[in-house]
């Protein structure tokens, strides 16, 4: 068929074949009288190579990237080392958290862990912190998932928990928070992509919760409705998407986290 002889405009579309999924080109000839569609394979396919080699390489590369991501996540959530636990549960869990790139605040008033983003991993000076309890945990941006979180929940006395932007924190992790319901007062779950509204609905079990940051949760529908239901259920709770000042208090606590910070927020809430 000699297309040059017919008048009209020639369009070429790159599409996928419906039967085999391979790439092909469709030559559509639109004349004033008719519109013809002529399926035609791309040059490579016509030769019989089917682009398999290129696709196999890209598939292998995708698989490799997926495995690497899975490895990183698995290494961040390894079981606690028994050697670290010799010094006590608090120290052992703190070492685990620092290895996972989080910051830990002990009741001796000091933050341990990475100071700025991108800093090389630091070690916990265990001798300084023996005998003190973990007060606050800043695990924003880490790869902790439900297995690692279960180990963290064995701590008692954690007042401030920041898991902002963690990709693997999901509803089961929020359900695990029930183990620290007696001590948790500040919780930050901004920007967690795997949290849904069912997970946020379990936060009513945290009876001492005073401040909750839950903005930018992509999978939570009707977040303001759930926030107001939580404020009704939990006494003394204020949520950042419907109350003022919760975000500034959070920034202050993230930097310093002293008992005075907490004390100030408590008087302001009343």
């Amino acid at each position: 068929m000699n297309l040059m002889m017919q008048q009209g405009r020639l369009f070429v579309q790159r599409t996928l074949c419906k039967t085999c999924g391979m790439q092909m080109a469709r030559r559509c000839l639109v004349t004033p009288q008719t519109a013809q569609v002529l399926p035609w394979r791309l040059n490579n396919i016509q030769r019989g190579y089917h682009n398999i080699r290129l696709e196999t390489i890209s598939e292998v590369w995708q698989q490799f990237k997926k495995e690497f991501k899975y490895l990183k996540r698995a290494s961040a959530n390894r079981p606690l080392d028994p050697k670290d636990l010799n010094l006590g549960l608090e120290i052992g869990t703190a070492i685990f958290l620092i290895k996972a790139n989080a910051r830990v605040h002990f009741s001796n008033g000091r933050w341990y862990g990475r100071q700025q983003k991108g800093e090389k991993k630091v070690r916990l000076p265990a001798e300084e912190a023996v005998g003190y309890t973990v007060n606050a945990i800043d695990a924003s941006g880490t790869l902790i998932d439900q297995n690692g979180f279960r180990d963290v929940m064995k701590l008692t006395g954690v007042k401030y928990l920041n898991i902002e932007g963690c990709p693997h924190i999901d509803d089961t992790c929020l359900a695990h928070l029930v183990h620290i319901r007696d001590s948790l007062t500040h919780l930050n779950i901004n920007k967690c992509p795997s949290v849904t509204e069912n997970g946020v609905a379990t936060l009513h079990k945290l009876r001492k919760l005073e401040r909750l940051n839950m903005s930018d949760l992509p999978k939570v529908r009707y977040s303001k409705l759930i926030a107001s239901m939580l404020e009704d259920a939990v006494p003394r709770l204020r949520v950042n998407i419907i109350s003022n000042l919760v975000d500034t208090e959070e920034n202050r606590a993230k930097e310093n986290f002293t008992e005075e910070d907490l004390g100030q927020t408590r008087t302001e809430s009343v």
Partner: protein, 483 residues
């Protein structure tokens, strides 16, 4: 390259065998994974070519599962996940829309508050499975399964005379590792101010791994993953069995040892057609839910002689239960767990719009008839609403939006599961009689039955207590926490 493909095709035609790989090359390499998928299916070697894509089950299959609800699909998934290419699994389900299946009509709740340790372990395993469902049941290329698991907890309430039962159960649950806490009347009043704690002295609140989920998504995820791994679902009905007893020898019926008689094949009749296919299978698993007793009678279980342990029927029959969906704008809201009144009524929150689901198991003498699934709204007005309004005073003002009815596969003996093989037939397994707690045990039962088939014994949890032998000796394993 095209010429090479054509040569191979001609060669294959000459030898009168078209291997799928040659066909793949000849047609220009359409789908390179198709031959591997066919090998993985395990059925392509046994099905003749003209029946490969039909709706008829094949002539021979390794494991035939009767009933494609949550139990059957879970067993199919676990069998295929353990042995991808070595086991061919066929699931026969007569109701492709699942209109009367207990799975899709259930309230979909999961709890650890049982009094039998095996029940507690099975629920804990299933809860772990459900929490990690994205790793287990995700089909490549589709969205990850979303079971909408609400980890809200159960709250069992007890009056003064039943307090000791709750105490004893609590000790058993704590020993098994379940996270449950007991609350006194004052603690209940403080924690749930919307509840009337008049004659309630003790409450048992589940902290973790208890709540409710969407049973339809669970069934769909199991089924799609099982089909992706190579199990085949057939829309047909089982109407008969053929038994081979060439090696049958007389046995001592109290020993419950198989006597050499085996199920040879199953007669599967296609829907809306007089065609009946005889399917030979090594194992047959009965997971037909409420209709298991009926199907057992086809095998002679219940009508046979006592010497062969065939005198007791499978004690599973359908019992109708109603579920009512109502709207109560001033209700408890987020805090509402799955509350179980001492009278037996239960209520739980559904969604975030002030809607709730409730129900109650009627007394033995008031059991409704099971001919159809019509709802009796008077039951709500007389039996459930007074209890609800007494327990939660704000629920005096509510409006019933809709209701439905479903069947419990009720075990008349002791309302606990029957898992295991039948003593008379070595290759006939049963997983039925869950009496309202089937959904929460379906992943665990799937794993256990697949272990029984592949390894010959239960490896994860020892549920030999729930075998069929107790139905023959009539020794019930009573469960005190039945809803």
């Amino acid at each position: 390259m095209l010429k090479l493909g054509r040569c191979v095709h001609l060669l294959a035609r000459c030898t009168n065998q078209t291997s799928s790989f040659a066909r793949t090359l000849a047609s220009g390499g359409t789908d390179i994974t198709k031959p591997f998928r066919q090998i993985r299916d395990g059925l392509s070697w046994t099905i003749p070519k003209d029946l490969q894509n039909s709706d008829r089950p094949p002539g021979e299959v390794d494991v035939l599962i009767i009933g494609g609800g949550a139990m059957g699909s879970s067993i199919a998934y676990f069998l295929k996940a353990a042995r991808k290419a070595g086991v061919s699994v066929a699931v026969v389900e007569r109701d492709s829309g699942y209109s009367m299946s207990s799975t899709v009509l259930s309230v979909g709740s999961i709890r650890q508050q049982f009094s039998t340790p095996e029940n507690i372990y099975m629920s804990m395993y299933s809860a772990q499975f459900i929490k990690n469902v994205q790793e287990h049941l995700q089909v490549e290329g589709s969205d990850p399964p979303d079971l909408q698991f609400n980890d809200q907890g159960y709250l069992f309430l007890a009056t003064k005379d039943k307090e000791h039962i709750l105490h004893e159960n609590h000790i058993i649950q704590k020993n098994c590792g379940a996270k449950v806490e007991l609350m006194t009347q004052n603690q209940l009043k403080k924690r749930f101010p919307w509840m009337n704690t008049d004659n309630v002295t003790l409450g048992s609140y589940g902290l973790e791994n208890e709540g409710w989920l969407d049973p339809w998504s669970l069934l769909k995820s199991f089924k799609e993953k099982a089909i992706d791994l190579g199990a085949k679902y057939y829309n047909a009905e089982v109407t008969g069995f053929n038994v081979v007893d060439d090696d049958a020898k007389p046995i001592d019926p109290t020993q419950f040892a198989p006597n050499g008689r085996r199920l040879n094949s199953v007669m599967v009749s296609m829907i809306n057609s007089p065609e009946v296919v005889e399917v030979k299978s090594s194992y047959v698993v009965l997971t037909a839910g409420a209709w298991s007793g009926q199907l057992g009678k086809l095998l002679g279980i219940g009508t046979g002689p006592k010497e062969e342990n065939l005198h007791m029927p499978i004690p599973v029959e359908p019992r109708k239960r109603y579920v009512y969906f109502f709207h109560c704008p001033e209700g408890p809201g987020l805090e509402c767990p799955l509350l179980i009144d001492p009278s037996g009524s239960y209520v739980r929150r559904e969604g975030f719009g002030g809607n709730y689901l409730c129900g109650k198991s009627p007394n033995e003498c008031d059991e409704p008839s099971c001919e159809d699934l019509n709802v009796n709204y008077d039951f709500f007005d007389t039996e459930i609403w007074p209890n609800l309004a007494h327990r939660i005073p704000v629920m005096e003002k509510l409006k019933v939006k809709s209701a439905w009815a479903g069947y419990y596969d009720y075990n008349c003996l002791d309302q606990n599961a029957i898992i295991g093989s039948h003593p008379a037939y070595g290759n006939f397994l049963m997983a039925t009689g869950f009496s309202g707690h089937g959904i929460q045990q379906s992943p665990a039962v799937g794993k256990l039955v697949s272990e029984k088939i592949l390894a010959g014994e239960f490896q994860t949890i020892d549920v030999s207590k729930f075998g069929f032998e107790r139905c023959i000796t009539e020794t019930p394993v009573l469960e005190r926490c039945v809803i």
